[in-house]
């Protein structure tokens, strides 16, 4: 097996492992929900909730 194939196999292993971890931990760079960083009121109620609204 050539060096290029070994590198590619290692790359595939890395991607597959990363995908397995992301799937297990529920991670996605394309997730809709995000942790809010704005000010919060009493009881953790988020103030100034924004987000896109239908026009």
């Amino acid at each position: 097996m050539s060096r290029g194939i070994m590198i590619f196999a290692a790359w595939c292993l890395l991607v597959t492992s990363g995908f397995a971890y992301a799937s297990f931990a529920g991670y996605s760079p394309f997730a809709d929900g995000q942790r809010a960083s704005g000010a919060r009121g009493p009881g953790g109620v988020f103030i100034g909730r924004g987000g896109p609204r239908h026009k």
Binding site: T16, A31, R53
Partner: protein
């Protein structure tokens, strides 16, 4: 031993070596070989220039082209008749006559050389190799690679309309029947050959091999050539490697084919693993649902689901909304997922909408009455989901719109991120596809020189 040329100004294609003993008028002398089956060597003088000539395969050799003056001699005649006088200066060869080299475990001596072409175009060099125990081989090059050929003793089997089979291997047509000629000849040959002699040739290929058909007025023969590795001839004969360039050889195997196949297999395995992991860790469980009744007048209504227990250190959460009754209306949805203990807030927004009507092209619909939002890597904890929903009507339309709506909102543990799957598959397959495209490009360039490529762009 290579003989000494009579004229020291002329190049010595036999290479540097000891001088011969025969003089211009010396008789033909036979030097017996060591083995019984091996051909004997023979020495005589060129009747044109007097140069000493040694025949390596006496008894088999029919024609000799003098290495000093280029004259072609008939050595079957006891008086060595001159078939053709050559007027130009003898050229220096890449592989000097008399040089020896080991190819594929057998030592060969270069005894003949021909320069051939298609009426002056597409020239190539053909060296005749000889070993007293293994006979003759051809070593061809057009500057891009070396091919070692052996003459077949049986005619290849016809396979299909144009192809042939040899030893169970199929050869597809590459070069159609073409007339070519001998432009230059030097050394000895086991058949009668002279400058200007014409023959018809056609070539058939498979990766690494070329099957050549050749027909002259004397005979028809088939030769099976094997493409040598670029360093084989330089290593064997101590010559410079070919510079190459241009299109790939007709029988040159694609350097990307094997690599492409292996990469595709690895990428396929990785893709299977990705899909397996997506099934194992994807999906949702334990959904909890609430309903929000609202009018489509823009006034916001709120609802809460909870408590929701998330037990894993990190997990995805899916919030789905469905409003099956709406038409020409939309509902804006804002979700707030709040950790009861830490007060951490995760938020998302979405919409469910549906529009329909009728125009010149018939009924139309647009939008979706359901949607889902996915939260990524939410820590373990006890959460509440707050849903803020605001319904609106499509007032600009001439169609009736829903005045009141019910939206069902569900929250479930877990999610399937299809974007993750697509991204992982792209990242895995792009390198393999890239090498595969290079393989196709190589094959396209190789076949572009073929007379059977479909693009008839050459002319004589």
């Amino acid at each position: 031993m290579p003989p000494e040329p009579p004229d020291s100004d002329r190049p010595n294609p036999w290479g540097a070596g000891e001088s011969g003993a025969a003089g211009p008028t010396s008789p033909r002398t036979v030097v017996t070989a060591e083995g019984d089956k091996a051909a004997a060597a023979e020495q005589f003088n060129c009747p044109n220039c007097g140069g000493s000539i040694e025949i390596k395969a006496a008894g088999y050799t029919v024609t000799v082209a003098c290495q000093y003056c280029g004259s072609t001699l008939d050595v079957t005649d006891p008086d060595v008749r001159i078939i053709q006088r050559y007027e130009e200066e003898v050229r220096k060869l890449d592989l000097p006559l008399g040089s020896r080299g080991k190819l594929r475990g057998i030592e060969w001596e270069v005894i003949g050389y021909m320069r051939r072409s298609e009426n002056g175009t597409y020239p190539w060099d053909e060296y005749l190799l000889f070993n007293p125990y293994y006979g003759y081989r051809f070593l061809d090059t057009d500057g891009r690679g070396w091919t070692l050929g052996r003459q077949l003793t049986e005619m290849p089997a016809k396979n299909g309309l144009l192809g042939f089979t040899v030893d169970g291997e199929f050869y597809e047509p590459f070069y159609a029947q073409t007339r070519n000629q001998v432009d230059f000849v030097l050394g000895e040959f086991y058949w009668q050959v002279q400058v200007g002699e014409e023959a018809l040739t056609a070539d058939y290929v498979r990766p690494g091999k070329m099957l050549s058909w050749e027909s002259s007025k004397h005979e028809t023969e088939w030769t099976l050539g094997e493409l040598l590795e670029p360093n084989e001839v330089p290593d064997a004969f101590g010559v410079e490697p070919l510079t190459g360039g241009g299109l790939p050889l007709p029988h040159q195997p694609s350097p990307y084919k094997k690599q492409s196949g292996q990469m595709m297999k690895i990428a396929g395995l990785a893709a299977a693993a990705i899909i397996l992991f997506a099934i194992m860790f994807g999906g949702t469980s334990d959904p909890e649902t609430t309903r929000v009744n609202l009018a489509t007048n823009g006034v916001e209504q709120s609802a809460k689901i909870g408590p929701i227990e998330l037990t894993r250190p990190r997990q995805a959460v899916t919030v789905s909304a469905r409003a099956p009754g709406i038409d020409n209306a939309w509902i804006d949805l804002a979700y707030t997922l709040t950790d009861r203990d830490t007060g951490d807030v995760y938020e998302a927004s979405n919409v469910v909408e549906h529009y329909s009507g009728y125009d010149a092209e018939g009924n139309w619909t647009e939008g979706s009455r359901s949607s889902s939002s996915k939260f990524s890597m939410v820590p373990a904890g006890t959460y509440d989901l707050t849903v803020d929903a605001a319904g609106s009507q499509w007032l600009e339309g001439q169609y009736a719109a829903t005045r009141n709506a019910v939206v069902e909102v569900s929250i479930a543990r877990g999610a399937t991120f299809y974007s993750n799957i697509i991204l992982a598959l792209i990242v895995v397959f792009v390198p393999a596809i890239w090498v595969w495209i290079r393989h196709l490009s190589f094959e396209s360039r190789r076949k572009s020189d073929s007379d059977f490529a479909g693009d008839d762009d050459d002319d004589d």
